[in-house]
Amino acid sequence: MLDIREMELNMGPQHPSTHGVLRLILYLDGETVVDCKPVMGYLHRGTEKLMETRNYYQNVPFTDRTDYLAAPYMNLGYVEAVEKLAGWEVPERAQYVRTAIAELTRIASHLLWLGTHAMDIGAQTMVLWTMREREVVLDFFESALGDRLTTSAFRPGGLRRELPDGWIDAVLAFCKTFPDRIDEYEALLSRNRIWLARTVGVGVISGQDAIDLGLSGPMLRGSGVPYDIRKEMPYAAYDKVDFDIAVEEECDSYARYLVRLVEMRQAVLIVEQCLDALPEGPIQGKVPKTHKIEAGREVYHVVESPRGELGYYIVSSGTGVPYKCKIRAPSFVNLQSLTPMSIGRLVADVVTIIGTLDIVLGDVDR
């Protein structure tokens, strides 16, 4: 008489904790997830196709709008790919500034992740604390780059403009106080019993599975794989600074939380080293006005964005406009692990797992 069937629950695209317009179709047995199908594309804007219609310089703003929470990093990956494609030189000062801004981006991005992740799990104080520090970082972006979110930070061949007066001192002052703030966050969460209960053992993905799924960034390093592109294939000025990569063996959400906290601490060290050793000199290398790059060249360049391996594959067309530009988005690839991590868990864990993935839907859909 009674047929027992799973409940089909549509989570998103309008849902408080799917971080934008991700839609999940959950099949529930009680509150246990039997199957989970992510549906994406709600934010697809055809960025990659659009980039075939503008020249290399004009394409920078498109990259802002993919992973909008780490826009300078998206810019960095793109301009470096273009420089590699064309063989343009970048002055040393620009390299150092790029590295410093890139690491500030990592701090801003991880702060937002920490706040929203804690919020998803129900700790609402965290998000206001992390926003407080993120605000400072965004102010740095505003004064140095002209914008807070969609920065268009760099241009092929160097920087758009010189750093403003007093900027370096302000950033260094922030770097002095910021580690104390991280201690504050840790005091609130790291040994909180409920936080541990909600994150330890949730969203487990083994190191081998992580590699098989192509995960990268904190998702990979939280599973005990010490792979960081900043060390493996250094770009910008990463080969000239000294830093450690964060690795945790536990493979769960808590491990990834620890990884990201350590990355923020390391980012502070990198920023300090870059700004202390900042060489004098020009900020823009020699680049042809038309940005013309000879036909038939292709390049794939990867950088370690806050979310993982961000790759740009660009093919030149012989003019100033690329023939093809493909973005290997870390959020998109990392999202693959959502289903294997969610099956057999509770609805509340799905929220934790979405949070720990640290996806940006602009990056997933492009």
């Binding site: 629950l9 549509n10 408080p16 129900g122 700790a123 609402q124 206001l128 909180n192 409920i194 509340a348």
Partner: protein, 320 residues
């Protein structure tokens, strides 16, 4: 006839006090949370933002009062009234003043427990009548949570009753003259507070309306004043639990120099402060953990506490 008038006046006063403190609590909570979170909170409407509440109520009043066409109409409307009605009725036995409560009920404690167990209906009916999946999930969570924690709460209260030898709240307060039961019954006090958090569905036990997981849980489909009623009911529950905790464990209005009602208010405010503090600090627990904690830790500890208390009471009465 003057007796009837007196009763009516006291009734109106108690209700007004309960409603006013529950609605003031919205402002208090927002300001306190803001202080914990390094921001200002509502400070624009009126002095210190005190009139924010008025603005919010006007807004809620003027919103469209919408009953979804797929909802089961009568229970849908019934649900929010139940939570407010049970909340307000419970205040009849709270001994705010030295003279005791509005009704000097012999079974005051049981009356309170009975009404708090009835408030579950409000949430379950809301969840079922809404005919929406998120509401249903919220209602399932709420029902499981409230039934489980009611048991622990009842057991913790029972040890106080055993100690005082009465179900009458006025007599329980009188029995604490000189030594509040929080000293004699710290375990029961803690259990009562935790269960109170769970019963009033406050963070970290706010799973039935966990907006990050199930949108708004059982009141997802509610709008306007019906939604406001759920809100009001929740804050009424908070005031109620803190006042009952004051009466049961902190010696009610007992205290030197100040009038009874002032002492009562101070103790209540302290408990409410702790509730808000907890909300600012803890993440939300997960459903299975919540049930495990309730059944595997709280209930056994409460039973043990009751047994030990009972044994001591019997031993004392046998010895003396």
């Amino acid at each position: 006839m003057s007796g009837t008038l007196d009763v009516i006046v006291r009734m109106v006063l108690t209700l007004a006090l309960a409603m006013a403190s529950a609605s003031m609590l919205v402002w208090v909570e927002r300001r306190l949370l803001a202080a914990f979170q390094d921001r200002y909170g509502p400070n624009r409407v009126g002095p210190f933002g005190l009139l924010q509440l008025v603005a919010d109520s006007i807004k809620l009043f003027t919103k469209e009062d919408w009953t979804p066409p797929f909802a089961d109409r009568v229970p849908f409307i019934l649900a929010p009234t139940i939570i407010v009605a049970t909340g307000l009725l419970s205040f009849a036995v709270v001994p705010f003043t030295a003279a005791g409560a509005l009704v000097d009920l012999n079974i005051g404690v049981l009356y309170f427990l009975a009404l708090s167990s009835l408030s579950v209906y409000s949430i379950m009916l809301a969840g079922m009548a809404s005919n929406s999946k998120y509401s249903l999930l919220g209602a399932v969570r709420a029902a499981g949570q409230m039934i489980s924690y009611e048991l622990a709460m009842g057991l913790s209260v029972a040890s106080v009753v055993a100690l005082a030898g009465s179900f009458n709240l006025r007599e329980i307060v009188a029995a604490q003259e000189g030594l509040p039961y929080v000293v004699l019954q710290p375990v029961a006090f803690l259990i009562f507070l935790i269960a109170g958090l769970a019963e009033s569905k406050r963070s970290p036990f706010d799973l039935p309306e966990a907006e990050n997981e199930i949108v708004a849980g059982y009141h997802t489909e509610y709008s306007s004043m019906k939604f406001a009623f759920f809100f009001l009911g929740e804050y009424l529950a908070l005031v109620l639990f803190s006042s009952i905790a004051t009466a049961l464990f902190l010696g009610g209005g007992n205290g030197p120099w100040l009038p009874t009602i002032v002492w009562f208010a101070i103790k209540m405010a302290a408990i409410i402060y702790v509730f808000i503090w907890v909300r600012a600090t803890f993440p939300r627990v997960r459903y299975d953990r919540l049930m495990a904690f309730g059944w595997k830790i709280l209930v056994p500890v409460a039973i043990l506490n009751l047994l030990v208390t009972g044994a001591l009471v019997v031993a004392r009465s046998a010895g003396g």
